[in-house]
C-alpha cells in the first residue's frame, strides 16, 4: 500500500466543513442502539471545545429508514426534510449537521434532486406550506457529525489523555474503519476523501495515534440493507455481508473497528456474536471478538471519559481488552450499574464468544 497515492486522492476530495454554529439533528438508530454517543458528541463540542450547537425538540425522523424500506414515498421524505430545514431556518442557522448517515445521504440526494429538478423544490415548498405553514432555506453547509469531529480532530488530539497506541508494544493500534454506505458512495465529493479511500475516519485515527488497516472488503456494506435486516426472514443476507467483511479483515489482525454510521457498529458487533454462536467462529485475538466503536465513543475514549459513560457496556463484544491495550482505566464493578450505583443485574454471557 502506497500512502502517497492515497494522499493524492485525498487532496481532490476536500469538502467545506464549518467549525462552529451547527444546527444538530439526531439519528433514530443511534439513539436506540448507542444512546450515549450523541450525548458524548454534544459534550465534546459544547463543553470540551466550546462550540455553538443548536438542537430543537421539534425535529423528527427524516423518514429515511421508511424511505429505504420503500414504504414512504420520495415526496414525503422530501417534505419532512424540508420541515427540518425550516426548523433550522427558523432558528437562524445555516450549518446543518446530522448524526445519521442515512439522513446525510438522503439530504444530499434530495438537495441534488432539487438542483436537477427545480420544479420539485417548488412543489416541496408548497407541500410544506400546505401541511405546516413553514418555509425553509436549503442549508449552506451539510455536514455529517463525523465530518465535524474530523474537522475538530486535531483540537481533540490536543486535549487527548490517551493515544490509540498499544501501551505494551508502543505501536499504533491497527484500526479498521467502516464508513456508512450513504456517506459518499452516491456523491463522492460530499464525503471527506471521496468514495474509494474516504479519509473522514482515517483522519481521526491518524490524529489520535492509531493506524488504519486497509483490507480488500473495506468498502463493503455491513449488510443492513434496510428491509434485509428489518425482516427476520431476510437477515441471512445481513449476516452474510458482515461475515464477508470479517473474513477479509481477519488476516490483518485489527485491534478495533471504528464506524461513522449509526447502524453499522451494531451489526458489526452483533453479527460477530451470531457467527460465534452459530458457526463457532470467533474473530479477534483469543476469540474475544474485534471491538466495534462509534467515532464519538473513540473520541470520548481518547479524551479520557469513563468508558461506562460512553455507553461501551451496551456492546456485545467486550471492550475491556482494548481498554487494557491503550491503558484506559475502568471499573468492572460499575459496568452494569445505573445512575448512582443502582444495581441493574448482569447480562447473561454468550457461550462461544469470550467475554471478560
Amino acid at each position: 500500500m502506497k500512502i502517497e497515492g492515497k494522499k493524492q486522492i485525498w487532496k481532490e476530495y476536500q469538502k467545506e466543513i464549518p467549525d462552529n454554529d451547527f444546527f444538530y439533528v439526531r439519528s433514530c438508530i443511534r439513539q436506540n442502539l448507542f444512546p450515549a454517543s450523541e450525548v458524548i458528541f454534544l459534550k465534546i463540542l459544547r463543553e470540551e471545545l466550546g462550540k455553538n450547537v443548536y438542537e430543537t425538540p421539534h425535529h423528527t425522523t427524516c423518514g429515511g429508514i421508511g424511505y429505504h424500506s420503500d414504504i414512504v414515498p420520495l415526496e414525503t421524505v422530501m417534505t419532512i426534510i424540508a420541515r427540518q430545514f425550516a426548523l433550522m431556518t427558523e432558528a437562524g442557522f445555516e450549518n446543518y449537521a446530522c448524526s445519521c448517515i442515512t439522513s446525510f445521504g438522503l439530504y444530499s440526494e434530495i438537495i441534488e434532486t432539487w438542483n436537477h429538478f427545480p420544479e420539485l423544490l417548488e412543489k416541496t415548498r408548497k407541500s410544506l406550506k400546505d401541511a405546516t405553514g413553514r418555509e425553509f432555506n436549503i442549508p449552506k453547509t451539510l455536514s455529517h457529525a463525523s465530518d465535524v469531529i474530523y474537522k475538530l480532530r486535531n483540537e481533540i488530539a490536543e486535549k487527548a489523555k490517551y493515544k490509540l497506541i498499544n501501551k505494551h508494544t508502543g505501536k499504533p493500534l491497527k484500526v479498521v474503519e467502516h464508513i456508512g454506505c450513504h456517506y459518499s458512495k452516491m456523491f463522492p465529493n460530499k464525503g471527506v476523501g471521496g468514495a474509494e479511500f474516504p479519509y473522514v475516519l482515517q483522519g481521526m485515527i491518524e490524529s489520535w495515534g492509531g493506524e488504519i488497516v486497509d483490507y480488500p472488503e473495506r468498502r463493503h456494506c455491513c449488510g443492513f440493507g434496510f428491509r434485509q435486516y428489518l425482516i427476520q426472514a431476510n437477515r441471512g443476507y445481513s449476516l452474510a455481508n458482515t461475515h464477508k467483511k470479517f473474513e477479509s479483515m481477519e488476516p490483518f489482525e485489527p485491534d478495533m473497528i471504528i464506524t461513522n454510521c449509526p447502524g453499522c457498529p451494531f451489526f458489526l458487533d452483533r453479527w460477530q456474536y451470531v457467527i460465534a454462536e452459530t458457526e463457532g467462529k470467533c474473530y479477534g485475538a483469543k476469540g474475544q471478538g474485534i471491538p466495534v466503536f462509534t467515532y464519538e465513543e473513540v473520541a470520548g475514549m481518547v479524551l479520557g471519559y469513563d468508558p461506562w459513560d460512553l455507553g461501551l457496556q451496551v456492546h456485545q463484544i467486550a471492550v475491556e481488552p482494548l481498554l487494557d491495550k491503550i491503558g484506559i482505566p475502568y471499573n468492572p464493578e460499575t459496568k452494569y450499574q445505573g445512575l448512582n450505583g443502582k444495581d441493574l443485574g448482569e447480562p447473561e454471557f454468550p457461550s462461544n464468544i469470550r467475554c471478560c
Binding site: 433514530c28 439513539q31 436506540n32 444512546p35 450515549a36 450525548v39 421539534h58 425522523t61 423518514g63 429508514i65 421508511g66 429505504h68 424500506s69 420503500d70 414504504i71 414512504v72 414515498p73 420520495l74 415526496e75 414525503t76 417534505t79 419532512i80 420541515r83 434532486t113 436537477h116 429538478f117 420539485l120 410544506l128 401541511a131 405546516t132 454506505c181 450513504h182 458512495k185 452516491m186 463493503h220 456494506c221 443492513f224 440493507g225 434496510f226 434485509q228 428489518l230 427476520q232 426472514a233 431476510n234 443476507y237 455481508n241 456474536y273 451470531v274 459513560d309 455507553g311 457496556q313 451496551v314 456485545q316 445505573g338 445512575l339 443502582k342 441493574l344 443485574g345 447480562p347 447473561e348
Partner: protein, 225 residues
C-alpha cells in the same frame, strides 16, 4: 393506459438513475445482494432498458426487485452514471402503487415494514422506537440487548439520555404538535396513500391466500418454512 416503462420514467429517481446501460457488470460485481441472492442488478437494468413491458411487469411482480439492500454501492461504480439502486427504488414504488408487490414472497413483506417502521414514524416521530424493539424479534441483539431492553429506563438515565422526556435529548418524547405536522405531510404528499395501498392490496392478497392478516404478516416475516 400508460406503459409501465412510462410510469417508471415519471419517477425522478428513475430519470436520475437510468442512462444507457452498457451491461459491463460493475454494479453486480460489488452488489451486496448479487452475492447472497439470486440477483443481478445489471440484468434488471438491462431488462428495464429494453422497455419490454412483459419483462418489466414480471420484475414488478417478482422477488427480484426486493433483494436490493439500497446500499447504493453500484452508484459509485457505474461508468455510465446509472444508478441501479435508484431504478430499483422507483420499481418498488410502482410495484406498490399497482399492487404487484403482493405477488412475490419478498414483496409481501412490505406490510410488515409498514406496520412496524411505518407505524413508529407516525406514532413516535422516530423510525425506530426503543421500547418496541424486543429481544424476541431481534435475537441477534444478544444477551446484552435483552439486558438493555429490560433496564432501558435506568440505562438511558445513567447515560444522560432523555427517554420519553420533555425537551431535548436522546430519545426525548417528540411533541404531539410535531407528530401532527408529520402526519399532515404524509397526507399532503402521498405518504398516507402509500400506507393505505399497502394495507388494501395486502388484505386482498391475504384473503386470496386464505390467511388472516396476522398469519400473512407472520408468514412474510418468518419466511416460508
Amino acid at each position: 393506459m400508460k406503459t409501465l416503462y412510462k410510469q417508471l420514467a415519471e419517477d425522478v429517481r428513475f430519470q436520475e438513475g437510468m442512462n444507457a446501460c452498457i451491461n459491463c457488470g460493475t454494479c453486480t460485481a460489488i452488489c451486496a445482494a448479487a452475492e447472497f441472492y439470486d440477483y443481478d442488478p445489471r440484468r434488471v437494468v438491462d431488462l428495464v432498458q429494453s422497455r419490454n413491458e412483459a419483462e418489466i411487469e414480471k420484475l414488478l411482480r417478482d422477488d427480484t426487485i426486493w433483494f436490493c439492500g439500497e446500499c447504493m454501492s453500484c452508484v459509485t461504480r457505474c461508468p455510465r452514471k446509472n444508478a441501479p439502486g435508484l431504478i430499483i427504488m422507483a420499481m418498488r414504488s410502482l410495484s406498490q402503487d399497482l399492487g404487484f408487490f403482493t405477488d412475490s414472497e419478498k414483496g409481501r413483506q412490505q406490510l410488515a415494514l409498514k406496520r412496524t417502521i411505518g407505524k413508529m414514524i407516525l406514532d413516535t416521530g422516530y423510525c425506530l422506537y426503543r421500547r418496541w424493539v424486543t429481544p424476541e424479534a431481534h435475537p441477534e441483539g444478544g444477551p446484552i440487548w435483552k439486558w438493555t431492553f429490560d433496564n432501558v429506563d435506568a440505562l438511558y438515565e445513567r447515560l444522560g439520555c432523555n427517554l420519553d422526556g420533555e425537551g431535548n435529548g436522546v430519545l426525548r418524547k417528540i411533541p404531539q404538535e410535531d407528530l401532527d405536522e408529520l402526519k399532515r405531510i404524509f397526507e399532503v404528499t402521498g405518504g398516507m396513500d402509500r400506507y393505505e395501498k399497502i394495507e388494501t392490496y395486502s388484505a386482498k392478497k391475504a384473503k386470496e391466500m386464505g390467511l388472516s392478516i396476522d398469519e400473512y404478516i407472520t408468514q412474510s416475516v418468518l419466511g416460508k418454512k
